[in-house]
């Protein structure tokens, strides 16, 4: 049974990482302005952003084209794949199980994220792909950097989407909620550990996340 991991611990050198998370948030804001799912990410190598991404599923009709993959494509256009091993990822929403596995296989050095993805997060939200036993080197994941902003971006997106619906729902359903629950220990399901009981004790970070 894998030990429970906490991804909301102290982030060493937080101010440094906030600088790059700010860039990821900016990507998400731009995505929101284009009616795209507001998830943004940047990959950073030696203090330099080498790849940026937003969700690409709608453009490709491919449900796997997440922001992380879009950014990786940009990186691989100019760098050898091995650069990932000295690269950190900053993403507004916790990487999903698929992305977490891909990142680990590519050898990512560390992942910093804003809010949890309690539907299919792979770094603590639902599973712990980053630290579970496996053949590839595990990676550390640090959550909670600009978490509130990451959540608000998603909420704004889903409120907007309701506006575009053919028959808009009553206004009370479209209200932008601003209260954000504090972080509670995520009830993570690891590979070996029994799945949690079907109660939702997770921090409800995301309305309908797209990882």
């Amino acid at each position: 049974m894998a030990a429970k991991t906490t991804v909301f611990g102290e982030v060493p050198n937080r101010a440094y990482h906030e600088r790059f998370m700010r860039k990821a948030i900016e990507m998400a804001e731009l995505a929101l302005a284009s009616d795209e799912t507001p998830v943004g990410c940047v990959f950073v190598h030696n203090d330099v952003i080498i790849g940026r991404g937003i969700n690409g599923t709608n453009a490709s009709l491919n449900g796997t084209r997440h922001a992380e993959f879009v950014a990786l494509a940009e990186i691989m256009a100019k760098h050898p794949q091995s650069i990932i091993r000295e690269t950190d990822l900053y993403v507004t929403v916790e990487p999903c199980i698929m992305c977490a596995s891909a990142l680990r296989q590519y050898g990512i050095r560390a992942v910093y994220f804003g809010c949890l993805n309690d539907r299919f997060g792979g770094c603590g939200g639902v599973m712990n792909i980053h630290t579970d036993n496996g053949v590839d080197r595990p990676f550390p994941a640090y959550g909670g950097i600009f978490r509130e902003e990451a959540i608000m971006l998603l909420r704004k997106f889903y409120v907007q989407e309701n506006n575009k619906a053919p028959e808009p729902k009553p206004k009370k359903n479209r209200e932008l909620k601003t209260a954000i629950l504090p972080i509670s220990a995520p009830n993570t399901a690891t590979a070996g550990a029994p799945a949690p009981p079907p109660t939702t004790t997770n921090t409800p970070d995301l309305p309908t996340p797209q990882g």
């Binding site: 453009a59 490709s60 050898p80 698929m98 296989q105 399901a189 799945a195």
Partner: protein, 477 residues
């Protein structure tokens, strides 16, 4: 139809889900009591009226009343032996036994006439499953029942000794008739209700198995699809592009299968900036070029090609978002990274066929055939893509994402235990099977016999069937 000869012709074994592995053998302790059947309903009402929470745990899969002859011996226990000694006459067993009970506890039983042969005159008794033991204490239950007929200390109460037994029963519904039989013999009479709370509905599984194992449709059944996957795997490997894994995606329209995508692993196809210093052996290669990821990518590409004006427009608008956020897109580099376009003429042939139903959603309900159990990335990609059915041939115990088992049991080599095909925590589940190797005996001719009408779901492999473990050491595919 259900002949042994027929059963051996199956080629698929349903993968156990995480919950089936975890919960399948969980039990719970319950109270049970034997009572004359004519009082059974009355006592059940007493329980329902007086024991709060007696139905809090769903035990619908267990008979509430069970005849003694259907109970395992350990529940009947000592009672029957005593009865055979004719020492414990009970009113429902003999008509008017002339038996007197002495007043003090250690008194002996006495009777004036020999008991009659019980086999003919015996009145029916039943065992009542009362409730889980954590709902009420034995003492409270005992004193409750003593207030009611036939246990009340009325004139005939001596005839119905109140013995409450603690019995172990299965907590959850069985997922196959075989399991129900096993539990009935081991614990308590158990129903199989043709449902499966821990996986796909048995009827859906059975229907899927019939469709997939029938070769009549265009001569394209599960074995053909896997042969095709193996073929593309070997072609791509032969070109020096991959490790020899393959994936085929099929759309079934009114029972007729259409081959939508055929992709081989191409992780070693050089990227824009090749990794010169990394020999294949110690590099994971391009993770995006795993066979399953590529095949899913082909489907998206094909969908874009056959999309209606409206869908094309929406996709083009989404594509323009990349420019809006300042992402310059090198399309050649992007395609070279994702490899969601064919890398050889074999893949191209299937890719060029505009045979997908237009404007479908992602890979909703498509069938995916894989030479190898996909890694976690690919397994989750299948979840994101909303596929319907997945069949793989070689298990990947060190990297596979679909197998749920953690300990070696009746279905073969173990894996990491993720069981990603059916996780309640995730927002999509799909049916999944392993292809099983017939190790001896059956001729191929049997394959063309009629489709199975009997689900083989949940049955462990038989003696001549083998789950195929990959010869790859520990790579992700």
């Amino acid at each position: 139809m259900d002949s042994p000869a027929f059963q051996t012709s199956r080629r698929m074994l349903a993968l156990k889900t995480k919950e089936e592995c975890r919960l399948g053998n969980e039990t719970i302790q319950v109270w049970a009591v034997e009572l004359p059947s004519k009082h059974a309903e009355g006592i059940l009402k007493v329980i329902k009226d007086n024991v709060e929470g007696q139905d809090r745990i769903d035990l619908q899969h267990l008979r509430r009343f069970a005849k003694p002859k259907f109970l395992p011996k350990h529940i009947l226990g000592e009672r029957d032996r005593i009865k055979e000694l004719h020492c414990v006459p009970r009113a429902w067993e003999t008509s008017a036994p002339a038996v007197m009970q002495a007043s003090c506890e250690n008194a002996v039983w006495d009777w004036s006439t020999p008991a009659k042969a019980r086999t003919t005159t015996r009145a029916q008794t039943l065992y009542l499953l009362i409730c889980p033991t954590n709902v009420i204490s034995m003492a409270d239950l005992h004193s409750l029942l003593l207030d009611y007929t036939p246990f009340a200390s009325s004139a005939e109460s001596w005839a119905y000794p109140l013995v409450i037994k603690e019995v172990t029963v299965p907590l959850l519904s069985p997922t196959s008739p075989a399991q129900a039989d096993e539990w009935s013999n081991k614990y308590w009479p158990t129903f199989y209700r043709k449902t499966n709370p821990f996986g796909a509905h048995p009827v859906s599984m059975s229907k899927a198995e019939d469709e997939l194992q029938t070769s009549e449709c265009n001569g394209f059944g599960v074995e053909h699809a896997l042969e095709l996957a193996e073929e593309v795997a070997q072609i791509t490997k032969g070109e020096g592009l991959g490790v020899g894994t393959g994936c085929v995606i099929v759309e079934r329209v009114e029972g007729k299968p259409e081959i939508i995508a055929v992709a081989g692993d191409a992780r070693y196809k050089p990227l824009s900036v090749p990794a010169a210093d990394e020999p294949h052996g110690c590099s994971p290669g391009n993770v995006m070029a795993h066979a399953a990821m590529r095949a899913l990518g082909f489907v998206g590409r094909k969908r874009l090609r056959v999309a209606s004006g409206q869908v094309s427009k929406a996709a083009a608008k989404a594509e323009s978002n990349f420019a809006n956020v300042g992402l310059a897109h090198d399309e050649t580099a992007r395609d070279g990274f994702f490899l969601d376009l064919p890398v050889n003429s074999f893949e191209q042939k299937y890719f060029d066929n505009d045979n997908i139903k237009p404007d479908g959603y992602l890979c909703l309900k498509l069938e995916v055939f894989l030479t190898h159990e996909p890694c976690m990335m690919c397994s989750m990609a299948l979840v994101h893509s909303r596929v319907g059915r997945v069949i793989f041939k070689h298990r990947m115990p060190e990297t596979g994402g679909l197998t749920a088992e953690l300990v070696r049991n009746d279905t073969g080599p173990v894996g990491l235990g993720y069981g990603l095909c059916w996780r309640k925590e995730l927002n999509w589940q799909f049916m999944c099977w392993e292809y099983i190797q017939q190790t001896h005996g059956e001729s191929e001719a049997d394959d063309t016999t009629a489709a199975s009408t009997v689900s083989q779901y949940s049955k462990p492999p038989m003696a001549n069937e083998t789950i195929v473990e990959s010869s790859f050491a520990c790579i992700h595919v």
